[in-house]
Structures are given as C-alpha cells and as structure tokens.
C-alpha cells in the first residue's frame, strides 16, 4: 500500500512539473510540425511519377526499413544474428534437445493450442508477405511466429519441438537461410553489374539516375515493391527461427543441461 502511495505521488509530482513547464511556455514546439526529412520520406514512399527516387511501397515504414535506410537494417539484422549466436555459444555443449517424460498441460489447453498454432502461423505469413502494402513486415511477422515456439514449449513440453520436426540445428539452418537470402537480394544488382558491365549499386531497388538496373515493382498487376517483399520474407525466416532456437534452449530443463555446461570439475 505504501508503494502505491509513493507511485501516485511520483506521478503527481511529474504532472506538477509538466504544468509548471506548460505555464512557463517552454517546449512550445511539441507535436505540430513534421521535419523536412519526414516529408521527403512520406512523399517518396509511393510515387510512380518519380521513378528514380521512390520505393513504390505505400507503407512508408517498410520503405524506410528496406529501401531508404536498407543498409542500417542489414546491419541491425547482423546484430540480431550475433546476439542469437552468442546465446547459442553459451549452450555449446548441449547436443540433444528432448528427454524427460513430461507431457505438458491439460488436454483442453493442448487442444485449444493445437487450433491456435495454425492461425498464428497464417497470421505471421500474412504479415510478412503484405509488409510492403500495410503495417507489417519481416520483423513483425518473425516476432509473431516466435510466440508459437513459446506455446509449444509451455503447453506441450520441450519434446514437441522434435515431434513437429524442429531441432536446434534445423532452426539455425533456416535462420542462416534467411540471412543468405537477404545477402542474395542485396548482391544481385552488383553481380548483374559485374556480368553486364552496366552501372549498378549494392542494395539497389529501382532505376537510379545513372543506373538502369531494377527489380520488378509489379508482377501480374500485383504490387510487390521490388526487393521489399523478398527482404521481408527473408527477414521473417531469420527472425522467427532465430527466436525458435533460443526458446528451444531456454525451455530445456536444468538437469539436462547442467552436466554438459559445467563439466565434471564443478560436480553436478
């Protein structure tokens, strides 16, 4: 109870401070203008009249993530990959996932979860492939699919991973497949440029002022926004299976992992 009073008084103090600032007239710039940079991104996200500058994606955030500032996102994907690999490195001695006879939660919970998992997968795939048209994309879809791994671990026990055919090595392979697919899309213009002798840039999406190379913006009348859909799908693979590996290892019981991790010297 005392903590609630302290919390409320902190909130009240903050409100008082905000009121004082308002009366003093400071911070008058808040919440009215967008910056020139933001206007540029918004105007160029989907603009068929400016072929050399646009990303051809109605979702401005997806356009920034994979086109305007694509190299940043590539770098951040590498950071993500390194964090997952570092976590795996701690578990380097553990080879086998599974063992232990627990069967998870009650029948009702398991049946309901069995119904929920296909829906979850469908939503994740939908978020990934529509990322260039609506809110969504590879990161969102990957995080959504990662929920499936937690559901499997909590509701069905660790054994269910091997039962549905997901093992640590396979998940790492799929994660790496996603990363390699991103690299393939990124290097395609460069390889094209080397082969044909034409001007082309790393991570190029559409025609530039001095380069004619471009990915198809539309296929059969459907807007796919060039590299955006492929990068979203590849990122979806990388993020979701990165989380799958980690949650698989996290849900292992301590008795199983303690011996290989600590070795003989520490006693078990």
């Amino acid at each position: 109870m005392r903590r609630v009073i302290v919390a409320v008084s902190i909130a009240a103090f903050t409100a008082l401070l905000a009121y004082a600032t308002t009366v003093a007239g400071a911070l008058g710039y808040l919440g009215l203008e967008t910056r020139a940079l933001a206007r540029m991104f918004l105007a160029l996200a989907y603009n068929p009249n400016l072929r050399e500058l646009t990303a051809m994606s109605p979702a401005a955030v997806a356009a920034i993530v994979w086109d305007f500032r694509g190299v940043d996102t590539l770098y951040e994907t590498v950071v993500f990959y390194m964090a997952i690999i570092s976590a795996l490195a701690i578990y380097r001695g553990v080879h086998k996932v599974g063992g232990g006879g627990s069967v998870g939660l009650s029948l009702i919970v398991r049946v309901v979860t069995k119904l929920l998992i296909p829906m979850n997968i469908a939503i994740a795939v939908s978020i990934a492939v529509h990322g260039h048209l609506t809110p969504g994309g590879g990161f969102q879809a990957g995080a959504t699919l990662a929920v499936v791994s937690v559901l499997l671990a909590v509701v069905y026990s660790v054994n269910s991973f091997s039962r549905v055919g997901v093992e640590v090595s396979k998940a790492v392979a799929l994660q790496s497949t996603g990363l390699i697919a991103i690299a393939a899309v990124v290097f395609t213009p460069l390889i094209y440029g080397v082969l044909t002798g034409a001007q082309a840039y790393l991570m190029q999406n559409y025609v530039k002022v001095d380069s004619g190379f471009h990915f198809p913006a539309e296929v059969l009348g459907q807007l796919i926004s060039g590299t955006l859909i492929w990068l979203n799908i590849a990122e979806f693979l990388a993020v979701s299976f990165g989380f799958f590996t980690v949650f698989m290892l996290l849900s292992l019981r301590e008795e199983v992992v303690k011996q290989p991790l600590l070795g003989e010297g520490h006693g078990s």
């Binding site: 903050t14 009215l32 203008e33 967008t34 109605p58 401005a60 701690i90 969102q140």
Partner: protein
Amino acid sequence: MALSTIERFLLTLTLYNLLVTAAVSIYGIVARPSLTKKIISLTILGDSLNVLAIFIGFRVFSIPPELVSEVELERFVGLAVDPLPQALVLTAIVIGLAVTLFLVFLALQVYRLYGTLDTRRIRELRG
C-alpha cells in the same frame, strides 16, 4: 494552428511521464540487487525510450504513415506522422529482445556457477 494550454499540458505530461519512467527503470538497473530485476528494469527502460522516440515523431491531428489509395499524396504528406523514428524503433525492439535473451542465458549461467542471482552475494563468493 496553435495548441490550447490544456493540449500543451497533456503533451508535456506524456513526455515527462516517459522520462520519469526511464529514470525509475534506471534506478531499478542500478540499485536493485537481483539480476532478474535488473533485466526486468532494462526491458522497461528500452520500452520507455522506444516510445519516447516515437513520441518525438508524433504530431497532433495526424494519420499513420501508411498511404491509403483514397488519400491523395499531398494530403498524406501534410497529415502523416514522422515514419523515420518508427522504422528505427521497429528494429530496435526485435534486437532488444534478442539481446535480452542473451542476458537471460548469461544470468542462467551465473546461477549455475554461483547458485544465486543476488549481485552482492556473487561479489562475496568471488572473494
């Protein structure tokens, strides 16, 4: 278009609430002894700073930065919020989770080696 006093107060209050939330979570990271509590505080710190970044790009009377076909481009540019902080925060959230998972694995390893997650006891045990 100018904002009324109460609107400016509400915006300032939101900003200050986010800042104080960040401050409280920094207190949690620095002052609480348990490593688990430090990780919880770190997630709250990340959340509040991410929302703060989005708040910087926010404007009153706006629409999300997704172009809908009925809206003409000029009106869209004039109305939408800043999409750049959103694009940066998007990746930051996912990487934050991956880094937190790495920290959780480290904390588990600390528990296996020392038998406790209390940083004061860990310091004593190390001698």
